[in-house]
Structure formats: C-alpha cells, structure tokens
C-alpha cells in the first residue's frame, strides 16, 4: 500500500515537473520563476556580488579611499594594488568598492522618492478622476516634457551639487513614470466588482484605495522600480561625470570617471574601471527587471 501511495505522490510530482508549475504560495512561485529565469539569475548574481563587495571589500583591502599619497600616483596594476592607483596615489579598487555603497544608496533613495510620491499620486489621480486627475496629469506631462537627464541637471544646477541634492533631483525625475503606471492600473480596476462591493459595504475610499486598489498594481510597480534603479544610477553617475554630482574626493563612480578624462591618453585604465562598474550595476537592474516582468506578469511578455 505504502509503495502505491508513494508512487502516486511520485506521479503527481513528476506531472508537476513536466508542467514546470512549481507548487506552493504565489510568492514562492514568483521566486522559483525568477530563479530559473536566465537573465534574472545573471542580474541577481551580479547584484549580490556588488553588495558583497560593498560590505566586505573594506575588510579585505586596508586602504583609505580618500587619503592622498602622491608618491604612489599612477601605479600600474600589481598584487598590492590590483587595479593600480589613481592620479592622487589612491588605490583604485578600494575607491570602486566604496563607490558601490554610494551608487546603491543613491539609486535606492532616488527610486524611493519616485515610488513614495508617484504611487499615491497616481492612485488618487486614477481613482477620483475629475479635476484631481486633470491636475495630476498636467503636472506629469510637464515633468515628462523635460528630456530625461535634463530635469535632474537643471535641478542640481539650481539646488547645488552633493549627495543629498543629487538624490532629490534624480528622485523627482523618477516620479512621473510611477504616476502614469499606477494611474493606468487604478483606472482598470476602479469599476471591478470587488471595488464596487467595497464601496457598497461602506469601506472608506482611502482604505479601498490603499488596501485593495494599490496592491493590485504592485507587480508593474516592482518591475518598473527595478528598471528605474538602473536609470537612476545612470543619471546620478552622469551628473557626477559632468562635475555636477557627488563631489570629489568622495569615491563616486561617475565623479571618478569624470576626473579620469584628464588622463585618458596617459592612463586609460582610470576611465575603464569606474565605467565598467556603472555598466555592470545598470545591466544587473535591467536584467532583474526583465526577469521580474516575466515572473510577476506573464501577460506582459
């Protein structure tokens, strides 16, 4: 008997495997789809490497990322300095490692501003409609009328440079896309029976909005947040490159890349590695975003 029971269970399991439909709660299903999605997997591995490098790097490499040591300037790669040293004699690798922290903080903080303001704005705009919607839509139109990096550039030129203002500027440029996204999905569920039922039961509109309508649009928001993290990192590092971002001597990748331009003929490595670091981070978030899109919402494929 027990053999037969286990055989049945075995059959069920193999059938599940054949259909490639993992069992369990929806959350774990998403995780399995993500884990088996080739590009998402590459993205996750790259990101994990960055996080590890940013956390553990300073424990392995005992150099100061800021302190100048002019007698060691422009050293080529060696066991002591795996990527050589920069124009002020600082170890290039340790500066890149610390740069990971700035880049991730910049990206997450900016996107948090975008999500934090954009999502409620989009939900209210789509749910209530009318004048509120019209006002919200015109506001987003205006923000979207500035070609991508231009708004951040203009804001930083006005507010001043530095970590905090870069975060604010890039954050503001991330708002409109989330407004659009959440408004669209709010519009699509506003008239559905479960929302109507909530209204009929006398649930306050704020509760309907944030407990029932917003969670429904969470999937596209998560996908967009991942893609937006890549975009935010590109823009923030671009500001650094132009000399309008996080200022030297802070080891921010874009700022390092900007400084390397003076030595592009004599020491091209100083331009290669910070750029490679930015590229890798952006690529990772884009790949993860693609994977999340396929995993969370197969219809969007």
């Amino acid at each position: 008997m027990s053999t037969r029971a286990s055989a049945t269970a075995e059959a069920a399991r193999s059938e599940r495997l054949e259909r490639q439909e993992p069992a369990g709660r929806p959350q774990s299903r998403v995780w399995v789809r993500l884990r088996t999605h080739p590009s998402a997997l590459v993205g996750i591995v790259i990101l994990a490497a960055y996080v590890l490098a940013g956390l553990l790097g300073p424990l392995v490499l005992h150099y100061d990322p800021i302190h100048q040591n002019l007698s060691d300037a422009f050293l080529p790669a060696s066991p002591a300095h795996p990527l050589g040293t920069d124009d002020l004699g600082r170890d290039e690798l340790i500066r890149l490692v610390y740069g990971t922290r700035y880049t991730l903080v910049l990206g997450f903080a900016a996107v948090a501003i975008g999500v934090g303001i954009g999502v409620p704005l989009g939900a209210v705009s789509g749910y209530y409609g009318g004048w509120i919607d019209l006002g919200g839509q015109r506001l987003t139109d205006v923000l979207l009328a500035f070609p991508n990096i231009l708004l951040a550039l203009a804001l930083v030129a006005t507010l001043g440079v530095g970590l905090q203002n870069v975060i604010i500027s890039v954050g503001i440029t991330s708002i409109p896309i989330f407004v659009r996204l959440v408004r669209a999905s709010t519009l699509s569920v506003r008239e559905l029976p479960y929302v109507e039922a909530g209204r009929a039961l006398g649930v306050p509109s704020a509760a309907i909005l944030f407990r029932h309508v917003v969670p429904n649009s969470l999937a596209p928001v998560i996908v967009q947040a991942s893609l937006q993290l890549g975009a935010a990192i590109l823009i923030a590092a671009g500001l650094g490159f132009l000399g309008l971002g996080v200022q030297a001597p802070t080891p921010e990748w874009g700022t390092m890349l900007g400084a390397s331009r003076n030595y592009i003929f004599s020491d091209p490595n100083l331009a290669t590695f910070p750029g490679l670091a930015i590229f890798g981070a952006v690529l990772a978030f884009n790949l993860l975003g693609d994977g999340l899109r396929d995993a969370l919402d197969p219809r969007l494929k």
């Binding site: 991508n148 006005t158 890549g230 750029g275 952006v282 884009n286």
Partner: protein, 307 residues
C-alpha cells in the same frame, strides 16, 4: 484629421505653460539671493543691485512671472551675463549642431534597431535572437559618457582613425558622437520592435496572409511590420527626448559645440538666463516632437483619429 491635429495642439498649451513656469521657478529656487549668487563672491553691492534690477528681481513675484511670460511670447529670453549677447542668438548658433547630432543618432538607431528587432523576432529563440537581444540589453545599460570615452580610447588614441573631439572634420567627426549617442536608443528600439513583431506574428491575419500564398518578405513587411509599427513609433518619439538629454553628455565628452555644451558652460559660469533658455528650448523641442509622434500615430492607425 484636421480636427485631431487642432485638438492635439491645444492639449500641448497647458504643458508649455507648465514648462515655462518650472523654468521661471528655477532661478527663484536658488538657495539664498539669486542676484548675489549670480554676481559671484567678488561682487560689489552695486553690481548685485544692478543684476537684481536687470533680472527684474526687485519686482513683486507675480509681476516677474507675467513679465517673463510676456517676453517669452515675444521670443525674448534675456541677455547672457557671460557674453552680453541675447540668449536667443546664443542658442540659435548652437542649435544646428545639436540637431545634426540628434538626427544622425536617431536615424542610426531606427535603421539598425528596427532591422535587428525584426531579425530577432523572425529567428526567435535561436543564436541570432540571443545575440541580438543580449546586445540590446547591453546597449540600454551602457553609460553614454563611458561608451564615448572607450570609443575615444580605441579609435582615436589606439587606432588613430577617427578624431577624438571637435567638429572640424565634417561628417568624419560626427561618427563617434553619433554612435555613442545612438546606442541606448538602438537597444530600446530593437527590444520594442522584437516584442511588437512577436505579438503580431502570432495573430490570425498573418497566418491568413501566409496561407493565401503571400511571399515571406511581403508578409513580414506589409502585414506584420505595418501592424507592429504603432508601439515602435511611440518608442522612437520618446527616444528623441532621450537623445536631446543624452546630447548634453555626448557633447561634453566630444567637445561638440551644441546646446548641451552651452548649457554646461552656462551652469558653471552661473549664467542663469542661458541655462533657463536652453532648458526651455530643449523641452519645447521635445513637446513638439511628441506632438508630431501623435500625428504620425494617427496617420499610421486611422482608428486613433476617430476615437
């Protein structure tokens, strides 16, 4: 069609007004007193007062705002504090360079992007598809500024076949900046074309076209691509904004004398009238392009005109 054109143009007006308001506020958002900031650390009280008067900062804010809008309508963007020239003239001498760069990049991105996207879609899940799709995701992840530097290192420093900077060698000097600026849009257009084509290729009318014996090429171009065009045109229109923004960075990398370099130089010399002027012009250009995209849209798909 005409009604549609007029309706679309009217919708752009509040956006233009909003953009003008944002640009107006920029100067007023400066921390501290704008006149003091603009005059710089070595300014005398007289020169500060002079600048304040020149910019109209001694008037009440609503009067400043109405005056700003009024001058805009007359095409007056003020005077550059750096050169003493009218801002409009400064911009007009630089605009052709940015337009040349942006249009060259857009053409490159469209031709390569659409071709690659169609190819990837027809060879779905083959090595060619994988190669094209990975290149596209690399393209959209590439920092423009880094790509520019790498191209300079390879083609100007190592191989010495193309100039590293400037605009004095005609079309040859356009090659590296145009490729640099185009890559991101190329990747995005490839991805959009591929997914739009995949969706259309799975539909019944494509099967019908094949079944009635239409040639492979006819089915692909006349039936499939024509119907996949709508999302592709949208992406292309939006890419123009990305190109205008990216031009600011590309021009800085390649010392290209367009509006982007003018903008950066003005930011660093605190020439805010020019900063306002360039930001405004780039935004207006983008709004105009979006309007044009909508009209192309309506032309490509008559359903939109009548909805």
């Amino acid at each position: 069609m005409l009604t549609y054109v007029i309706r679309r143009a009217l919708v752009a007006i509040p956006t233009l007004l909003g953009v003008a308001t944002v640009v107006f506020s920029l100067l007023r958002l400066l921390p501290g007193d704008p006149a003091t900031v603009i005059a710089g650390p070595t300014a005398t009280p007289e020169s500060i007062a002079n600048i304040r008067h020149q910019l109209g900062l001694d008037q009440p804010i609503w009067q400043q705002y109405l005056g700003f809008l009024g001058r805009l309508l007359r095409g007056d963007l003020g005077i550059s504090t750096r050169t003493g020239q009218p801002v409009v003239q400064e911009i007009l001498t630089r605009a052709p360079f940015t337009a040349e760069l942006a249009v060259a990049s857009l053409l490159l991105a469209i031709v390569v992007g659409v071709a690659a996207g169609v190819l990837a879609a027809t060879r779905r899940n083959t090595g060619a598809d994988l190669g094209i799709s990975s290149t596209a995701v690399f393209g959209v992840s590439m920092p423009v500024y880094w790509l520019g530097l790498m191209l300079i290192i390879v083609f100007a420093v190592r191989l010495r076949v193309l100039p590293a900077a400037g605009d004095d060698q005609g079309l040859v000097s356009l090659v590296l900046p145009a490729i640099t600026l185009a890559l991101f849009s190329m990747g995005l257009i490839t991805r959009q074309t591929r997914s739009a084509m995949l969706e259309v290729l799975g539909q019944d009318f494509v099967r019908t076209a094949r079944a009635k014996g239409a040639g492979r090429r006819t089915v692909l171009i006349r039936h499939a691509l024509r119907n996949a065009l709508l999302p592709i045109v949208t992406t292309i229109g939006l890419q123009f904004g990305t190109l205008l923004g990216g031009a600011v960075i590309t021009e800085s990398v390649f010392a290209w004398p367009g509006m982007g370099r003018l903008l950066l130089d003005s930011i660093f010399s605190r020439d805010y009238s020019v900063v306002q002027g360039v930001v405004l012009m780039l935004a207006v250009a983008f709004i105009a392009i979006n309007l044009l995209t909508d009209l192309i849209y309506a032309y490509v798909d008559p359903r939109i005109r009548y909805s």
